[in-house]
Subunit: 640 residues, 2 copies
């Protein structure tokens, strides 16, 4: 095994600023260097991330001593002074990844200084052979790799590697990159085909990280190691646990599964890693298996919001169509992981369903997590809140599953750091290129300066107030003379979208992708998406929302809050006789509040009657619920 300094860490330009860069794909990703969000919904959230969320998370990690665990390791104070759960190192690494993307995006010198300082503390705790964990291996701690089921050692190193990859692709080689490389090299020595360890980690994450490190470094051993981890899975190498082997995807080999199952975040991270591996290996069977699993999961195991994982117990997927809004778990991290795997499959397949899933999940899960002020987060994202939550104090650490009000931080706090790294790298989801043109997947005010895969330059300016409004203006600031194509995604809900060229010609655009032949330099092209409030019904197998209807507007799922109803949302009955009304920028639906008399037994010999819906009540975007304080809330509204 060559020493780590043998790595060639001059990162190829086509990898710059991109979280995932497959060696082959139908569409090639663009990154933070090419795409700049210039305001709007996502630009504002990036600003909030820059101004508040990253520092908020950093402050909590310092205050709780989770960053301090690395100092304690250096100073010989472990295990006595160790703080947090066994996976707390990963929060530090996800913060470092967020910082790396953010420095890459803005060049923020102060943030770069903080990143370097935190990296130095982490690096100091790394052992000479590359091992890095504040939880295992010291006197008084359990031995290395002694608890692969629950210890999260490889999971943590996976996040370290992802942070290193982000730094390499936004800055180049430095201490963070080298720390990640040394840890990855240790993993390859320990867990390689001839290594002393032949297991897998209870929480997938190392797989997706190792493939990306292979892509950055070109070192085959990282890809080989990722393959070993993916292929070992599903053969019972992990010990028995109460939740059963499907909890950590050890019940079936990855390529034999038909749908994602078990712990949702684990399943989705594993699927992301398996998809990456399949691409690099040219393993079409594996790629087809993962694609089918994800498509079946979208068709049968995904909430209207894009949320995944129905069960609190085991944080897991439920059975097909088992999607009760009550206490829907829908973990923020599972939303992020779904965005990761769907974006990967989009690059490979060009199937708009994956881009639709990315959009739906970003708006209704990822964006729902942070509060308006960026200082509190949802871990779970319920679709039905029956009891108003209580205000969480700014200094209060919450149990993870509280789904009433957003909390400043959690005892298990994977989600806030995950949100920060995702928001900082959002530009990567906007556009792709191929030999012939550029594809726009997500609509936000942005400037895009890219080279097509054949080297020709394109510069676009996107102007829109989407998703408030469905008008997207794309100006070709610079483009090839001819022979190029601008491809625009039309979401599945947009049934009468139109594209209008500079010459005034208008064409209908069906859901999927519409190709526009080479706009001329300076041409302004308009995509009109029918963003208006609409009723949405569920497949009858989603029994828990039978007789109920949701309201969506563009990519946004809307919700009814007691704050607007002036009554518990349990009393609401809506009429769907007309379309929802839009007035003064708000969506209103006709609602009655029914009387809900108390009885001795909630079951009776006749169905309950319902009054005629009488008044118009405004809805809010789901992502904004509870921003005005404790409320009861429901996405699915009873129809009588």
């Amino acid at each position: 095994m060559p020493p780590s300094e043998s790595h060639d860490l001059r990162v190829a330009p086509h990898q710059h600023g991109r979280p995932a860069v497959p060696s082959r794909s139908r569409w090639r990703p663009l990154g933070l260097d090419e795409v700049t969000l210039t305001g709007g919904f996502w630009g504002d959230l990036q600003d909030l991330n820059a101004s508040t969320m990253i520092a908020h998370v950093e402050g909590w990690l310092e205050r709780l001593g989770w960053n301090g665990n690395f100092d304690a390791a250096v100073e010989g104070r472990l295990p006595l002074d160790r703080q947090g759960r066994e996976f707390s190192d990963s929060e530090t690494y996800k913060l470092l990844e967020a910082m790396a993307w953010e420095v890459g995006r803005t060049g923020d010198a102060d943030l770069d200084r903080r990143l370097r300082a935190l990296t130095a503390r982490v690096a100091a705790a790394q052992e000479p052979d590359g091992y890095l964990s504040t939880m295992f291996g010291r006197p008084g701690q359990r031995p290395r790799w002694s608890d692969l089921e629950w210890g999260h050692e490889l999971y943590c190193i996976g996040h370290l590697v992802q942070a290193g990859v982000a730094r390499a692709r936004t800055h180049g080689d430095d201490e963070l990159v080298q720390v990640a490389v040394r840890a990855a090299d240790l993993v390859c020595r320990e867990f390689g085909a001839d290594g002393p360890q032949q297991g897998v980690c209870g929480h997938p994450e190392i797989e997706v990280a190792l493939v990306e490190l292979y892509r950055v470094t070109g070192e085959q051993r990282y890809l080989d190691q990722a393959r070993l981890f993916v292929e070992r899975r599903g053969h019972g190498l992990l010990g028995e646990i109460d939740f059963g082997p499907q909890y950590f995807q050890d019940d079936l080999p990855v390529r034999d599964a038909h749908v994602l199952d078990g712990h949702a975040v684990r399943a989705l991270y594993l699927a992301s890693g398996a998809a990456d591996l399949a691409v690099e290996d040219g393993d079409d069977e594996l790629l087809a298996a993962v694609t089918a699993q994800v498509l079946t999961t979208l068709a049968r195991r995904t909430y209207l919001t894009g949320g995944m994982g129905a069960h609190h117990e085991g944080e897991s997927f439920g059975a097909d169509f088992e999607l009760p809004p009550d206490r829907s778990y829908s973990e923020t991290c599972a939303g992020i992981a779904s965005v990761m795997v769907n974006q990967r499959l989009l690059l490979q397949t060009g199937d708009a369903r994956h881009a639709d899933a990315v959009e739906r999940t970003l708006y209704n899960v990822v964006a729902a997590s942070p509060s308006q002020d960026g200082r509190a987060f949802y871990y779970t994202n319920t679709l039905h809140q029956r009891v108003p939550g209580r205000e969480v104090a700014p200094d209060e650490l919450s149990p993870r599953a509280a789904s009433s009000l957003r909390a400043p931080f959690f005892a298990v706090s994977c989600c806030p750091t995950n949100v920060t790294r995702t928001v900082a790298s959002l530009a990567a989801y906007v556009a792709t290129v191929d030999d012939h043109g550029l594809q726009l997947h997500q609509y936000a005010p942005a400037t895009i300066r890219a080279e097509l895969a054949d080297g020709r330059a394109v510069e676009l300016e996107v102007t829109t107030s989407y998703p408030d409004d469905g008008r997207v203006v794309v100006r070709t600031v610079r483009g090839p003379e001819d022979g190029w194509t601008l491809t625009l995604r039309v979401p599945a809900w947009a049934e009468d979208a139109r594209v209008t060229r500079a010459d005034g010609t208008t064409a209908q655009a069906a859901p999927g992708y519409v190709e526009v032949a080479g706009p001329a330099q300076g041409e302004q092209l308009v995509l009109d998406l029918p963003v208006r409030a609409r009723w949405t019904w569920a497949d009858p197998r989603v029994d828990a929302v039978r007789g109920q209807v949701a309201v969506e507007r563009g990519p946004l799922v809307l919700a009814l809050e007691s704050t607007d109803l002036g009554d518990d949302v349990a009393s609401a009955v809506v009429s769907t006789a007309q379309a929802p009304v839009e007035r003064d920028g708000r969506v209103l639906v006709p609602v009655a509040s029914r009387e809900l008399p108390d009885g001795p037994w909630p079951f009776r010999g006749a169905p309950a009657g319902a009054p005629d819906p009488a008044r118009e009540v405004p809805l809010v975007p789901y992502h904004a619920w509870a921003n005005r304080g404790p409320s009861t809330m429901r996405v699915w509204l009873p129809v009588e």
Copy 2:
């Protein structure tokens, strides 16, 4: 503190054969000495318990070494050879309790021999000071009382005391009784007002046991200790756990709560103990609080089956009206605990709602647990099975929450032993007496030979094929000349019940209790309950079953199985235009199987259509589902 031999263990006759004997009550319980089930639904289940279930449970406890833990303790092989979870001792004690009731009921000499032999093994493991646990206190084990949150030491001793109480009331003083008394005395010394321990047990059970031991022995210290445990609760004496303090009812003092919350079995055992304490103390405030909690729980947090506890996570109650049939937890033990607390409140209040709850829960939760052959059990009792279960091998130990097919035994196996002790003591739920007469609460073929509270003798013979049929014949074999009253429960669903006297006069009987003035000796009186299939709808706040209907027949909840539908029950649509049909002893409903085409996304812009229900499909009693092999099943049927 006096030594244990000071107990006067000549058990008063009015306590014989009764699991719960309040010192004061509106109605006084009758027991196994007075009430004999003579066949029918419950008599047959008692026979199955006698012939199979008790021996099945006993065999598993031997095979798994949970009974053997006591031998290992004596032989100094602990902790090395210890088997099972920290609460496994309680299974041995519940088996002993079941044996005690069964020996009391039938005088089975072989079973009595087995009870004595098992008792001797337990007794041998008791330490000189009365402490008894195979899990704590030895070298290599954690110290006594060092884990009150999860250790279950007092919980186990509570079950030991209940076994001792059962033995005392069916046999009289013996080794089992003395083992229980010694352990209880230790608890009083350790946890008394001046004792070194001032905590409570994470799992309530000791409270209800100590009050009953007080009732058997007359020793005040047991009642005082129960009071200390009840009053200490809700003051944060237990440490923090992930589930939060409501999990083990440590968030609120018992008398301050408005509804049962947290882990359902814990909440219901605690409520039973608190009710018993309140009765003995004359603490009307506490009794009113528990009564209100239970009534609110029945009105808002109870499944149609009587099942309690909606969440798998924490095995806990959900919010009000949060009763999704999907994976309804509805633990068998919670059903048993609900029967315990409702019977206690019935004795105090004479409120028929409690007897209705006992009946509903016995038929649809307790009776649902054992398989037809008595060799497998449900731990959880879902109301909707989406995926056919797999056959469980006769020698297979299951995780507790498998809700697909009944399993022979569980790694956490509280339910099978709980079923055996409950079925063996079922006669205690049938009838009560007061000064003026006798009350019949549950209808089963039975002979009842009782004294009214004023000493007058009554002998009744009940003949019925209830719940198959609603005709209940009560013959007064022997009764006072005059001035006595026979009181009959009319279930809440029986809206046109009738009582017909020997002289042919018939009177309508409204739901609740109907009083019949002193039937003459030899008189045959007929209660006609309208047992016919009926549609049942849920309160609109039970959102998960909106647009769905259940079918009940008498006290039985019915279910649709794929076995009868010939298709996945997901496809079923029923019409409620007419009442369900009864033919050849079966209930049939008009059902269509709708096509369920796969789509890419389960949400759409229009509601799904439904075909007209076309064929009649039979339903099965819920308690009998999956007896014919793996199936999909639903209690709540979609109506379109």
